[in-house]
Each structure stands twice: as structure tokens, then as C-alpha cells.
Amino acid sequence: MATDPWKSPADLFDEAAGIISPSIFADRDIYKLELERVFSKSWLFIAHETHIPKTGDYFATHMAEDPVVAVRQKDGSVRVFMNQCRHRGMKICRTDGGNAKAFTCTYHGWAYDIGGDLVSVPLEEKSFVGLDKSQWGARQARVESYKGLIFATWNMEAPCLSDYLGDAAFYLDAVLDRSAAGTEVIGGITKWVIPCNWKLAAEQFCSDMYHGLFSHGSIFTAASIPPSSLNTGRQFRAARGGHGTGFFVRSVPEMKITNAGERVAGYDPVADEKAAVARLGTRGGLFVQHMTIFPSFSFFAGFNSLRVWHPRGPDKVEVWAFTIVEKDASAATKEQLRISSTRTFSPAGTWEQDDGENWVEIQRVLRGHEARRTSFNIQMGMGRDYGTDPDLPGSKRQALSEDAARGFYAHWLTLMTQPDKAYAKGGNPLQAAE
């Protein structure tokens, strides 16, 4: 069992005082514990249902640092299993996606069917005595979906996905449930590496409505984005689970045009939003909503960029982003969304590129011994009652708050201070998981 690399949990995050330790963004021992206590315990985003519509369609991704493959089965279900051969651990899938009939390890040729079950071992009769292939399939994760999004977890004792999302699902619906037809992906996963801790990104999407005006000042000016009145700002902190979102209750339907730099012929921003408002009420027309489902799945509504922050060590994150659109949207709406999403929230995006700049510089500062001992202020919005909004359960009438960020770190700390039961008992984590 790992030893906790801190004296008291409050040394990492003290919610009552509103203080956070920079070490949580830089310490390698803390990162190792995060893989065990946060990522292996939580539901992690895998893919959108329409990434793998047909039997045998597969999508290779990661659950934190662990490579996995998500595959559509004959019965329509999805399996997610380790991309690791049970013989010597070579990847059994070395491509990013496509359609497969089997996954054959290129090291010694062990072959797994699309369900991850071991079906063929070369020269089995001559080389093994009584090999029980049924015991040597790829390790399976637990899989559930919510409105088109596939999640998986290694935690067999975790609550069901619906309970895990809890009261945050209402806000997730602002991007997933704008039409009864549901959503589909626009092709292409944008993948890039930012040398920063994963929490800098996940927390910002969870809570930070404060940075926009300054970090994104250049595009706000260039695209003539009108300033928002602060009294339209809201922030939601999930009752439990560390999820959060911030947004303005303010319709700005022309965002997809001003930020793309042009209007696709036939695109009607008002009609586009009207249908969603009729279905979802206030949530149909939120402005600059961004959200994190703990720990590492985030989205920016409006441009509909969804992404996972795959952790890659304490000082690196791999971003995998894609874009969704309502299945029944017009061709013009889909094209408007495609160009506005590409031009705002990709590594070249006019919004995104400035976020990466901040996080990289912060991470570089945290190489310093003293910098890691110089505490951060996370007090915004503490000690004031901003009131609630009956249309938006759980939300406070204040966007400029770090309430959701405190919720994110409070849940993170709860997980970090709960040792893995299997490790605590000295048991076999593989058996515990299965």
C-alpha cells in the first residue's frame, strides 16, 4: 500500500480557508496516487456512440494512462477492454479506429475476438498444456452510456453512471439533449499534448468564468463578442461528485457566425436555438457554458467541443477533442458548427490556443521548490450568498465564483484520502476489480 505523501489532507486543499497547495499540480507521488485513487475509481469518458455505430467498429483510447479499446458488439452493446495482450502485455490494437473482426497481437499472435475474449493462441497444442483461454481474455471494464456518451470504469463498486452524474446531468443535457433526435459526432478527433497538469484544464472547464475576459480578450475584441452583464452569470456545483459548470443566462445565437468569421449559406442561428429553448427552457440558450464531469471529461457548449484530459504524468496532459451536433440539424447548421468548432476549440482555435499558454507557463513555474510551497487562493465567491435560480437547480446567481472548483477539489481530496480497498487488504487488485 502506498504511503500518503502528505501530513494532513488540509495541506493539499483547505476548503474552509479557500487555500490550495500548488504541489497537487506538480508532485509525482501525488500523481501516482491519483491514477489509483481518482482515475481507477471514477467513471471515465470513452467515446460517443456514433464513433462506433456498426458491429466490429472500434475506437482505441485511454482510461487515464491505460490504453483501452471500445468495440461495438453484435448485440449492439459496447465492450471496453484493456489494449494489452495477456501474454506479455503488447498492445492488441495498434491503430486509432476502424472496423475489426478480431484483434491479433503482433508480438506472438494471440488473437482476441471483438469482445476481447482470447480465441486463438498460435501452436497452442504444441506449446501449452491445458491452457484455459476463457481465463485469459483482455481485462474488461464496466461500461454504461448516457445520452450518446459511453463511459467506463474499473470500479465495480461505483454507483451506476446515472447516479454518478447525479444533479449534473441536467446541465449535461444542455449539450446532449437539444433535440429528441439526439446527437452525432462530426468526424475527426483532435489530439494534442499540453505540458501541464490535467487538473488545471479540468478545473477551468468546471468553474472558471473569470478568465474569459482576460485570457480570451483578443478574440472577444476581434470577433466583437458583446460583454455579459454579471447578473446573468450562474455557477453550478454538483451536490456530490465534483462536477460543475458556469455560464451566462443570455442568448447570443450569432456566436457560431462571429467566431467562424463567416456565415454558412442557409444557416439560421435563431431557428437553431429556438427549437432547443422550446425543449430545454433556459438551458437551450446558455452563453459560453463550459462544464466538467469529474474527473477529466469537459465540454464547451455552443461550439460543442467535447474533450477528455488524458493525464500523462504530473506535468503533461493529452487532450482528445471532438464535436457533436444534433442528428436532425440542417446541413447548413452542421457545417456552421463544424467550421466554428474547428476555428475556436482546436489547438489552432482562437479560444483554445490562449488557454494552453496559461497552463504551460504555470506548470513551468511549478518546477520551483518554493513555487510549490507558495499557496494559491481559491476563495472567490466564499462568504457571500448570491441566491439561487428556480429554473436552474443547484445554481447560484453568480458566475464569478470558484464554488464549483472547490467542489471539484473537495471530491478529489475525498478520493485521494481513501486508499484502494484491494491494496489496503494486500489483495490482488485484478481479482478485486473482476
Binding site: S218, T221, A223, T342, D354, E357
Partner: protein, 186 residues
Amino acid sequence: MPQNNVATNTQLPKAIVSPELQQEIEQFLYFEASLLDDHLIADWMSLMAADIRYFMPLRTNRGPRERDREFSGSRDIAYFDESKASLDLRLRKLQTGLAWAEEPPSRTRHMVTNVRITALANPTEYEVKSAFLLYRNRAETQTDIFAGERIDGLRRIESVAGFEIFKRHIHLDQSTLLANNLSIFF
């Protein structure tokens, strides 16, 4: 995308362009690169035609049967998929002085080589393929190196530069982008 084991009878183009045209187009590409490296972005932007498509698709690892899906499609999400209007928006963003990913600006060096020119049906237009190596260094120690191919459409016009660019397709030789952003132009 050709398979390794199948000869595609690729040959030298039948009509190799004249040395004069080769030199003229290469000099244009070097001039264009110097504008970017000298941070004369507005001048560089003026070389883009009104009908420019500035496009950098995503790139994936695919199996042998699906190698033709290596690049994301024309109507998929891309790193860049820009028109004249959206490039102008990027220029206005840079000109605010608040575009922190390029403030202070990156130091870049665009190296352009392996230039192959094909005359198009329209006698004023050429397809120009080239290889590039783009070095970017910014802030204190951040360094990125990008390599790839550009497939340009050049149109001869009456101007000091002699050409405008109506197509730039950039094939980056990375699948997972190894840089924190693409705040520079290729």
C-alpha cells in the same frame, strides 16, 4: 494512399516546368516564408486569395484496409479549415496585442524545399507541392518542430509578389500533435 507492396507506376511529371518558372515560384515561396518569419502577418495575409482554403486535416493511424482514411475528410473537424474571412479574424486577434499565445511572438523559421510544380488547366494556375520544416521557439525554452508537406494552389496575378495563394493544404507529419497550440501559420 499507395500500399507499400503495390507499385503505383509513379513517374516524373511528363511536362517538367521551365527552370525560370521553377525559380520564380521557389522565390515566391521563400518570400512568403520570410514574411511569416519576420512577423509581417498582415503582408502575408495579403498573399491569400479571396477564395483561399487554408486546410490542415487531422491524421490517424489506420490498418492496411483503411489506410485511405488516414487523413480526416474535407467535411470533418480539422486543425485548420480557414477562409479569407476567418484568416482575417485571426489577423485582427493578433493585432489586439492581447493574443497571449503569440504575445510576445514565437520565433519561427519556415524552411521550404522539394518544390514540385504542375501546371493546371487554367494557364495562370499551378499546383505546387513542397516539403516544409518549421521551427518554433517561444517564451524561455519552448521549442516545437513541425515537418510535413504543403499542397498549394498558386495563381499568377498582377502584383509585386506575382502570385496569390488560393489553396494551401498542409499535411503535418504527426498524428497526436506534440505542441500545446498552433498559434502560428504554416
